[in-house]
Symmetry: C2
Subunit: 196 residues, 2 copies
């Protein structure tokens, strides 16, 4: 079901505003967090913008490696999304012996195509990104810009350059964070028409 | 039904990734466009990030005034959103006599509280913003950062700092753009729980 997405279509993966998971790796260390504040920034080559709080361990790994992965978690991953969004990778890295969320929480993952960050199994889409350095922007606003260098999606719900949720079960719909761990799933679709 | 939203809650208005309308005004000129690429950037004071293409007339008005409004259109406004997103304010401004989308398309609007940009009637939320100047960022990536200085929402669907779509008709749900004028509306909600 996992299928490559042409880079020119990658912006569509985030166009409808889903909450994302963010992973990064540097040397032997890796981490995973959740972020509701991510969006496309350009079509082709595709770029994205994402807010990564300076207090996160993921931020350290992104700063050190210049890479990150954005993933669109599925309706089946609401608990996982809340859990990785509310636990500290730093604490696990400093434990004796050191560990990480993937190991501690048994999160299935696989190797990315172009970057070192691990990708989470069961997501609906995966965007592998290289940071476009704007140190002042990251310092002032925790904002990172990145170019998407590889993209994949679950072909059951993303094909032909567009999400198709109409016939998908809740487990195959994206998560959109309202607050406090509550998400809405995409529901009915509507076609807007240009008026004369 | 329109009610002030405390600024500390304003980020929640965009947290779930809706498509927005963007308005701006400068002197006698005003315009309105659609944008799918907008997100919160900070909580309190609330800030936002939005991509505004350099070819748009709205961009000229934002650059000249330093202000913009972001609005969350409702399910009833899918046609309006597609229409303003696919017509040129520049062409209307250069017509003889000059006009604008509000007049030409009969779009109901009302005065903002803190900025000059007109606000569109029937939206679900309205965020009045002042640009945080990053000229290099706007020049390189069409990206604008702004501080939210006033916020309102339709209290039927936003109260207590959170969207409540579960019992709302489609006409009172936000629009999330999939592509080509097709949107998904928020559907069922799910509560994620932190695992041990």
């Amino acid at each position: 079901m996992r299928q490559d997405v042409p880079l020119a279509q990658a912006s569509r993966l985030l166009n409808h505003g889903p909450t994302v998971l963010v992973s990064a790796a540097h040397g032997p260390q890796r981490n995973l967090m959740a972020a509701a504040w991510a969006m496309p920034l350009d079509f082709d080559p595709p770029k994205v913008a994402v807010v990564i709080d300076r207090a996160t361990f993921t931020r350290q790994l992104i700063a050190a490696s210049g890479e990150l992965a954005l993933m669109v978690p599925s309706g089946a991953q609401a608990d996982l999304t809340v859990t990785v969004g509310n636990t500290s990778g730093q604490a696990l890295a400093e434990a004796d012996p050191p560990t990480d969320k993937f190991a501690a929480q048994g999160i299935g993952h696989f190797a990315a195509q172009r970057i070192a960050a691990p990708l989470v199994e069961g997501c609906l889409a995966w965007l592998e990104c290289r940071v476009i350095a704007w140190p002042e922007l990251s310092a002032a606003h925790d904002l990172y810009l990145a170019e998407v260098v590889a993209a994949q999606a679950d072909a059951r719900v993303f094909h032909g350059g567009r999400w198709h949720f109409d016939d998908a079960p809740p487990q195959l719909r994206s998560l959109h964070h309202l607050g406090g761990g509550q998400f809405v799933l995409p529901g009915a679709s509507v076609q807007g028409e240009r008026r004369a």
